[in-house]
């Protein structure tokens, strides 16, 4: 779910921009400058992945995959997600341009946390990695939903009802995200395990070594 224009109060939109700009700058600093074009191309891949709809009963949900993005891109994930959200806003109006900062926080912070959790606890076997990926996938979506609810609730008590509904609406998505993330990580662990090595993109420091 992307926050559209006009929903958040002015202070939250500007605060969101400031916080996400700082995080994106940190994320860019952690990415080697030669890797930036590669990161941009990978962002396109994650963007296409997020367009995939999974049927859920009579309706369908589209994947958010903050957990997978974090697991694969590490600390570059925030920059990649901000870029992807900017494009989604420009192309499809998914998420308003004024709410871009808030949306980037909502998707990017869980990705950073899940990436860290995945690298920390992934273990060695394929099953272990898949399970950790599933946990990261569920956690990423859950955290995104919580941040969404908090941002909405910042509008005052009139928004509490909407915040609760938004939180509840994400519950089926947790399950789907967890399973898809687990299976995807399992697939990558079998097919191209080096993608899961930390971090696929070289961090700034390694370039001088």
């Amino acid at each position: 779910m992307h926050i559209s224009d006009g929903v958040l109060p002015l202070s939250v939109t500007i605060g969101g921009y400031a916080a996400s700009a700082a995080l994106a700058a940190w994320s860019a600093h952690r990415t080697h400058h030669e890797e930036m074009p590669k990161l941009a191309v990978m962002t396109a891949a994650f963007f296409v992945a997020s367009l995939i709809h999974v049927p859920f009963g009579p309706t369908s949900v589209h994947l958010i995959i903050p957990g997978l993005t974090g697991a694969l891109l590490g600390s570059s994930a925030f920059l990649s997600i901000s870029l992807g959200l900017l494009l989604q806003s420009l192309l499809f109006q998914f998420g308003g341009l004024t709410a871009l900062g808030a949306n980037a926080l909502m998707m990017g912070l869980p990705a950073l946390l899940c990436g860290w959790i995945f690298q920390k606890f992934k273990g060695r076997t394929i099953v272990h990695q898949a399970v950790t990926g599933g946990v990261a996938g569920a956690l990423g979506t859950a955290l995104a939903a919580v941040i969404l609810a908090v941002l909405l609730a910042a509008g005052g008590e009139d928004f509490f009802g909407v915040a609760k509904i938004a939180l509840v609406a994400h519950v089926p998505v947790f399950i789907i995200e967890a399973l898809v993330s687990a299976f995807t990580i399992g697939f990558l662990a079998r097919v191209k395990p080096e993608l899961l090595q930390p971090p696929y993109l070289r961090p700034q420091k390694a370039a001088h070594a």
Partner: protein, 306 residues
């Protein structure tokens, strides 16, 4: 202190007053979707996923406006609209946006597509807010046939309408902002305003490879369909989708390396060639000033007037 006012209406009016407008809105949405579908791709399969951002050169005042002025003005104005708090001023902002839309001669189908994209999120506010907004003194609550738990708080409805109007007002400005200049020119304007140049480059690269990977994904999914895969709500579908994603990542990451090698082979040193540079004329600044003063007047009116 004024008590919340209660209006009791008989139960039979519930469908008339609530369900009917909802039905009309849903019908309107479906109608819009049909219209967009017909307009966007006659004859061939429609391409929902990645619409082009800018179509050929236009001659409207917005096409001729300096891109830096345009970016700053529309962004600052959008934040002014966000800060509005009253329904009347939000509706006035929608009127301003409609005027800009007419001046920029934006494509109706694209504008409707953007409105459709926000309709779900904004629609949620219309449904949820009247039911959940806490009742304060001075509010008017409509109760149908004594169903106390189903009280419609009109203040909630007004709040939702304000949010909806603000969202529409800003959304309507996106086509004039983005489709009146080619994307590289817009991004170059952004970097000349002080944004790091790498951001513009990354947006352009992502935008370009979006199309490539989407075609890759379409090829892969038609392969899956030919082999008999149908999407259902079961574990097997999720596993297939996950393998699909994994394959997409493997292929795109391998492609990433080749893309970068090709860029370097062509002499990429961290910069893209610049699109034509334009100079800012006095009339560009005048247009920006007029628009921003109008926005400031709207905000002032919103704060002061009842």
């Amino acid at each position: 202190m004024p008590e919340p006012g209660f209006i009791s209406l008989p139960l039979w009016q519930l469908p008339v007053l609530v369900l009917l407008p909802v039905a009309v809105l849903v019908a309107l949405g479906i109608g819009m979707r049909r219209f967009v579908r017909r307009r966007s791709a006659p004859g061939e399969e429609r391409d929902w996923s990645v619409p082009p951002l800018a179509d050929g050169a236009g001659t409207s005042p917005l096409h001729r406006w300096d891109v830096r002025c345009k970016l700053v003005t529309i962004l600052v104005y959008s934040f002014m609209v966000v800060s509005l708090g009253r329904l009347t001023s939000a509706l006035a902002a929608v009127a301003v946006s409609l005027l800009v839309l007419v001046i920029a001669r934006a494509s109706l189908a694209k504008v409707l597509m953007r409105l459709l994209a926000i309709s779900g999120f904004v629609g949620m506010f219309f449904v949820v807010m009247p039911l959940t907004a806490p009742v304060h003194s001075g509010d008017t609550v409509v109760i149908f046939g004594g169903l106390e738990w189903l009280g419609f708080n009109l203040r909630g409805l007004q709040l939702a309408a304000t949010i909806g109007a603000k969202a529409v007002a800003i959304t309507l400005l996106m086509e004039p902002l983005l489709s009146t200049a080619p994307l590289p020119v817009t991004l170059h304007g952004l970097s000349r305003l002080g944004a790091p140049e790498i951001i513009g480059q990354m947006v352009l690269l992502s935008y370009r490879y979006l199309h490539v990977f989407r075609h890759e994904a379409l090829r892969m999914s038609s392969g899956m369909q030919v082999r008999g895969f149908r999407k259902r709500t079961d574990l097997q579908t999720l596993r297939a989708v996950a393998n699909f994603l994994g394959m997409l990542f493997v292929r795109s990451f391998e492609r990433t390396e080749r893309v970068f090698d090709a860029m370097r082979a062509r002499g990429y040193r961290g910069r893209f060639p610049e699109p034509e540079t334009t100079s800012m004329a006095a009339k560009d600044l005048v247009l920006a000033a007029v628009w921003l003063v109008a926005g400031a007047a709207l905000v002032a009116c919103d704060r002061i007037c009842g």
